[in-house]
């Protein structure tokens, strides 16, 4: 049996997650020893006509073209992995869903807004079936490797469904709330090893919310910091706005 054919694709995103893969350093060579990398537009000109055993797709769907591309990739892939917040939950691209699309277009392109048609931002699983999720903006290299291992072993990868706080406590950080600022750790699903808090910043919720967050409880906590309602909503929705529409 040959090594599995692996390909990387990107839709609308910053391509930071592919860079995280490229940045694995020499571990990348170990990975390349296990798989047959057949397509990776950002760093390769090769292309592949056959089926993909594993397709990693980054970025969100923001227009009809990208929707079509995604469907084609899905059809040609045995396993589809959504990686990066844009792909798994819509991510920062989703913020525009809370505004009028026409306003958004004219803010940036003036009266030429309709030269570049767009749709609401959607995560991949809102359009096609997704087999694995690697959350995060950007993805954490360790989790990428973990998911790759699961995919190669044919096992599901269970995204932690507890809060970032758990890892934050494992790392014994001084809590941001004790430092007088608010943090989305308590409602955000773990898996990043509390990356941001380890580096002195707050969690922005890039991995999406745990499946059953106590949203009212969390808003209550945020309110006690004298933040206006808009700021609180903005904070909670920086990454999660595209998922909101899916709940509707």
């Amino acid at each position: 049996m040959g090594r599995p054919k692996v390909a990387f694709f990107d839709l609308s995103c910053c391509e930071g997650c592919q860079l995280q893969v490229a940045n694995l350093g020499e571990a990348l060579l170990d990975v390349l020893g296990l798989v047959d990398l057949v397509e990776f537009r950002e760093v390769m000109s090769e292309s592949w006509e056959g089926r993909y055993d594993v397709a990693f797709v980054e970025g969100s769907v923001v227009n009809e073209e990208s929707e079509q591309r995604l469907c084609e990739i899905r059809q040609r892939s045995n396993v589809l992995v959504a990686y990066g917040s844009c792909a798994t939950i819509g991510g920062v691209n989703g913020m525009k869903n809370r505004k009028l699309l026409s306003d958004v277009q004219s803010t940036v392109y003036g009266d030429k807004g309709d030269w570049f048609p767009v749709t609401k931002t959607r995560a991949l699983h809102q359009i096609v079936e997704v087999d694995y999720f690697i959350h995060g903006c950007p993805i954490h290299p360790d989790e990428f490797i973990k998911v790759l291992k699961s995919a190669l072993a044919g096992l599901p990868y269970l995204v932690p469904d507890y809060a970032v706080c758990v890892e934050c406590k494992f790392n014994e950080n001084v809590c941001m709330y004790d430092k007088g600022v608010t943090c989305l750790g308590p409602v955000t699903r773990a898996g990043c090893n509390s990356w941001c808090v380890n580096n002195g910043n707050v969690c922005y919720g890039c991995r999406g919310m745990v499946s059953n967050p106590n949203q009212t409880g969390a808003e209550e906590v945020l309110r006690s910091y004298d933040l206006d309602a808009n700021l609180i909503a903005n904070k909670m929705m920086m990454y999660n706005a595209a998922m909101e529409q899916c709940d509707e």
Partner: protein, 344 residues
């Protein structure tokens, strides 16, 4: 056993001596008036006037991630059970945390014994340190009678006017005292100072909640259906902070971590929390503590009632960490007060 004393000016030398023997861990300051146990090489790096560290010393007895087995499935299910240990001196452990370690000792030495814990524990030298006042308003060690030393250490230091009175409780402690050559015999004057300290503590460490130790389990039994739990459930974010920081919470999950080639790997255990929704979920998606309030109640009962039935002791040390860490401001003392009020 016996006692000795050490002059304050010799303490730095003692720490250097300990650090020359093996890794020494003590309380070091972080930002915002918080502390953690971390490796030190001198007294100057430590803050002996600390309040409870973010994580209790349990992280040295049962680390956040701990290898149980190493495996290799290249030829079937092959494995080797392993313990990762290192010789360690824990310096400056407060009485509440000593009590916490004792709780863990009880659990892990209960049959079937947990060898991983037991072996690691035997590699740790424990040096306790007495508090003369409450750490802060969250602490409630007085209620749980953990403000006084109750064993569980090799050496125990009580700070007096210009020396520390040192209680030597084990052979290991005794040989430390002898080898260091820094201790002196106890003199009557110093013994008197210790008595004065303990007397003063009696006044300071009054129970923060008007309930007697032996009545606490019954309170929880009688308030199982209380509305107080419902109210906590509305506030709780289920982040699990309270369990991770608790010196007597020991629940864990077991996971496999394969290496990239998928054949070799480790089976590890990782701290888990009864506050997480999936903690008690079984196949068919039935969960026995689906509601937040139910999980909250379970946690409190696991501190104050269930262990009394099983291990004949309360599993709250009074360190106050859970209240200190909770961003939803769920407070242990307030909760007990509210339960008492409601019961009338």
């Amino acid at each position: 056993m016996t006692q000795a004393l050490i002059r304050k000016e010799k303490l730095a030398e003692l720490v250097t001596f300990l650090a020359s023997r093996q890794k020494v861990v003590g309380p070091v300051p972080l930002s915002n008036g918080q502390f953690k146990f971390a490796e030190v090489s001198s007294l100057a790096e430590m803050a002996l006037d600390y309040i409870p560290t973010i994580l209790p010393p349990k992280k040295y007895f049962m680390p956040q991630h701990e290898t149980l087995l190493k495996y290799d499935v290249a030829k079937g299910q092959q494995m080797e059970a392993v313990v990762e240990v290192e010789e360690l001196t824990l310096f400056g452990v407060h009485t509440c945390d000593l009590a916490g370690i004792q709780c863990l000792n009880v659990v892990f030495s209960d049959r079937p014994k947990d060898l991983h814990y037991m072996i690691r524990k035997n590699h740790i030298t424990l040096i306790g340190l007495e508090c003369s006042d409450y750490c802060d308003s969250y602490a409630n060690c007085g209620m749980l009678r953990n403000h006084l030393p109750k064993g569980g250490y090799d050496l125990f230091f009580s700070e007096l006017e210009d020396c520390y009175m040192v209680d030597i409780s084990t052979h290991k402690g005794e040989s430390l005292v002898e080898e260091s050559g820094l201790f002196e015999p106890v003199v009557f004057e110093v013994e008197k100072q210790l008595q004065t300290l303990r007397k003063a503590k009696k006044k300071i460490f009054k129970s923060e909640v008007p309930i007697r130790y032996q009545d606490i389990p019954r309170l929880f039994d009688e308030t199982f259906d209380s509305d107080v739990w419902k109210r906590l459930g509305e506030k709780c974010l289920s982040c699990g902070n309270c369990t991770n920081v608790c010196p007597t919470c020991y629940c864990f999950d077991i996971l496999d971590e394969p290496e990239l080639d998928l054949s070799k790997g480790r089976r590890i255990r990782v701290w888990d929390s009864c506050q997480h929704e999936n903690f008690a979920k079984i196949a068919g998606n039935e969960s026995f503590r689906e509601e937040r309030f139910d999980r909250k109640r379970h946690r409190f009962n696991r501190k104050f009632r269930y262990p009394m039935l099983r291990y004949k002791r309360i599993f709250c040390t009074g360190c106050g960490r859970c209240s200190r860490t909770c961003m939803a401001k769920i407070d242990l003392k307030e909760t007990i007060n509210a339960l008492m009020e409601e019961r009338g």
